[in-house]
């Protein structure tokens, strides 16, 4: 079986970091004017040397995104199925060591949440869980999918890493996309933040996209959690991962997200915060490097930031999100995974998209595929 490890092992963190920090103005200009941009160009666009070129990068990013995706923004809603979790992740509100009320939605509750989400017009949904293999296992997900598949045109999941056969089963049951964020590609730093549970296994997580690709899932979403460590170097590794996956699983689409650590009950704050300007640079660098990549911006970001970034390279937004199981209707008072910044309703977000001259797209898939 293919494995990203062979590629990953050829790169040393310190060398990549040094290579990015020593990129020059000339490297940035070469990258800006290239027809096809390589990973070396991506490094240049990520580098501190590219900061003075941010406006130019934003213009190119906007043009490339409009050419590929048009004046459209895809909308989706997350549905948190469970906050049970056996992992300790020091930045997360659902971490095992937090004494919060745990909840996993029943079939009836899933249906109740579905009705509330559908009421706003959503056709694309993202199912989110923690990692609690005794209760929130593949059979639980299959039961949820049985309820959800007739209700939504497109279903994505963000759950614990699974085996290839399990992904095949979920694919057959209607899962279109799987999101699995490495959080950080720095193995030692990863250990510091992930101190207990199955998630402590850096390499099992690292190989997960290979298993998803081999299972024939339509779309794989990657990302690093911004704030854990140097975002520039981490993002290079994420791009390296995407580059590898695109070559090996050529029938698969790819998306990338940029979660910045948000305040959460009892959790760590970001040790390496990423500024708005840095996040814009990162998004533009990704777009300049990869024109087909879907770029998703969640409600972790503020209303003001989202309204601007939607025309600079983003393709997908969540809206009206609740990050607690039952948050839409069943039990709105349970503790959320992280605090939402953009609290507008889906209709208000769609109107803001329209005001920028873009169309909010609610349906861009059909459940029969």
């Amino acid at each position: 079986m293919n494995n990203f490890k062979e590629v990953f092992n050829r790169y040393a963190w310190a060398e990549v970091q040094a290579s990015i920090s020593t990129k020059t103005t000339a490297d940035v200009e070469t990258a800006l004017h290239a027809d096809h941009r390589s990973l070396e160009d991506f490094k240049a666009l990520l580098s501190p040397a590219a900061i003075p070129y941010l406006e130019e990068m934003a213009h190119i990013s906007q043009q490339l995104t409009q050419k590929r995706f048009g004046h459209t923004i895809q909308l989706f809603a997350p549905m948190y199925l469970s906050n049970e979790c056996n992992n300790i992740c020091t930045y997360c509100g659902f971490s095992f060591d937090h004494k919060i009320k745990r909840k996993t939605l029943s079939a009836a509750e899933i249906l109740q949440e579905t009705n509330e989400i559908k009421r706003h017009g959503f056709e694309h949904i993202l199912l989110v869980t923690g990692e609690a293999n005794a209760t929130v296992h593949v059979d639980y997900l299959l039961q949820a999918l049985q309820i959800l598949r007739p209700q939504f045109s497109n279903i994505s999941i963000e759950v614990q890493p699974l085996e290839e056969e399990e992904y095949k089963t979920l694919h057959a049951a209607g899962v279109h996309s799987v999101l699995v964020y490495q959080e950080t590609y720095h193995p030692e730093v990863y250990k510091e933040y992930h101190t207990k549970g199955k998630k402590t296994n850096f390499h099992y997580r690292l190989h997960t996209p290979d298993r998803i690709g081999a299972a024939g899932i339509h779309k794989i979403g990657l990302g690093v959690l911004l704030g854990l460590v140097d975002w520039r170097t981490d993002s290079f590794f994420c791009a390296l991962h995407l580059d590898y996956l695109q070559k090996h699983y050529w029938q698969t689409k790819y998306s990338v997200s940029f979660p910045r650590i948000r305040p959460a009950e009892g959790a760590d704050q970001a040790r390496h915060p990423v500024s708005d300007a840095e996040l814009v640079q990162l998004i533009c660098a990704y777009r300049l490097w990869n024109q087909e990549l879907e770029i998703s911006i969640s409600t972790r970001e503020t209303e003001k930031f989202r309204d601007q970034i939607l025309s600079l390279g983003a393709t997908t937004l969540s809206a009206g999100s609740k990050t607690n199981p039952g948050g839409y209707s069943v039990d709105p008072e349970t503790l959320e995974q992280f605090e939402i910044s953009d609290e507008r309703s889906p209709a208000q977000v769609a109107a803001a998209i329209g005001a920028k001259g873009y169309e909010a797209v609610w349906k861009d898939w059909d459940r029969f595929y």
């Binding site: 459209t72 056709e123 029938q251 609610w362 349906k363 861009d364 059909d366 029969f368």
Partner: protein, 258 residues
């Protein structure tokens, strides 16, 4: 100008349009109307099949506009055939633009699955318009399978790169028994004009219009260019000639009286 006949329909306009990438359904409608097109393609995956208030479709309700559903999203012949059947039900047309691109990056069509799906769809009574590479042999195979037209690409979808497959399009046009619609890659009105001048039966344009600064004016420009190109084709272009005519012909002596 001569009307274009495909299956049981006759078209005055030889410009077909795509409906994706517009900033709003109203902008899409205005561009479609400005283009003068009579055939617009709609991705089945974008259509809400369960309500009759779909925003995209409600903006295309004009008596001169025919809908051409497409199977975008299908990766195999099986998926495409199923999509076509759903489209027939939802949009009440047996016309289908067959798109099978298993590669989501460049959206290049799969020739093997496309041929298989064409055979099956023809058997099921569809009017099939397959999106394909500019592959002359595949075009002949599709003709044999009963395709209503062929839709070879000028360049990858959305690339706006123009007629990069020019030499192969020439071969296809020279030998095709069914209408040839050049689809994908047409990035400017001049590309549409060029395609029509070389004898294409129609062109399909989407990104060049939808991603333009002013989509409605660009739709008008594409209409004019398509008409100009077709008119030039019907008027028969003067031949290009790279050399001047020799003033002293080398074989003139043959006609001289000795």
């Amino acid at each position: 100008m001569e009307p274009l006949i495909i299956a049981d329909k006759s078209f005055q306009s030889r410009l077909f349009m795509g409906t994706g990438k517009f900033g709003s359904p109203a902008q899409m409608r205005d561009a479609v109307l400005a283009s003068g097109t009579e055939l617009v393609t709609v991705a089945l995956k974008r259509v809400d099949r369960e309500t009759d208030t779909d925003a995209l479709l409600s903006h295309l309700c004009h008596p001169h506009i025919h809908l051409l559903p497409n199977t975008s999203g299908a990766r195999t012949a099986k998926e495409a055939v199923f999509a076509a059947q759903l489209a027939r039900e939802a949009l009440e047309t047996h016309w289908i633009k067959l798109e099978i691109h298993p590669d989501p990056r460049y959206l290049l069509p799969d020739p093997v699955e496309t041929l298989k799906a064409t055979e099956e769809l023809v058997r099921l009574g569809f009017v099939v318009l397959p999106y394909i590479h500019a592959d002359p042999v595949l075009c002949k195979r599709l003709e044999d399978a009963g395709t209503a037209a062929v839709m070879p690409l000028g360049a990858p979808i959305g690339s706006n790169k123009g007629l990069r497959t020019f030499d192969f399009l020439e071969i296809i046009l020279a030998q095709s028994k069914v209408p040839v619609i050049i689809d994908a890659g047409i990035g400017a009105p001049s590309d549409a004009a060029k395609a029509m001048e070389m004898g294409a039966d129609a062109v399909l344009v989407n990104t060049a219009i939808a991603a333009a600064g002013d989509p409605v004016r660009m739709a008008t420009a594409c209409r004019l260019a398509t008409e100009a190109g077709r008119m030039a084709y019907e008027a028969k272009l003067a031949k290009q000639n790279n050399r001047a005519n020799a003033s002293s012909p080398l074989t003139a002596f043959l006609h001289e009286q000795f």
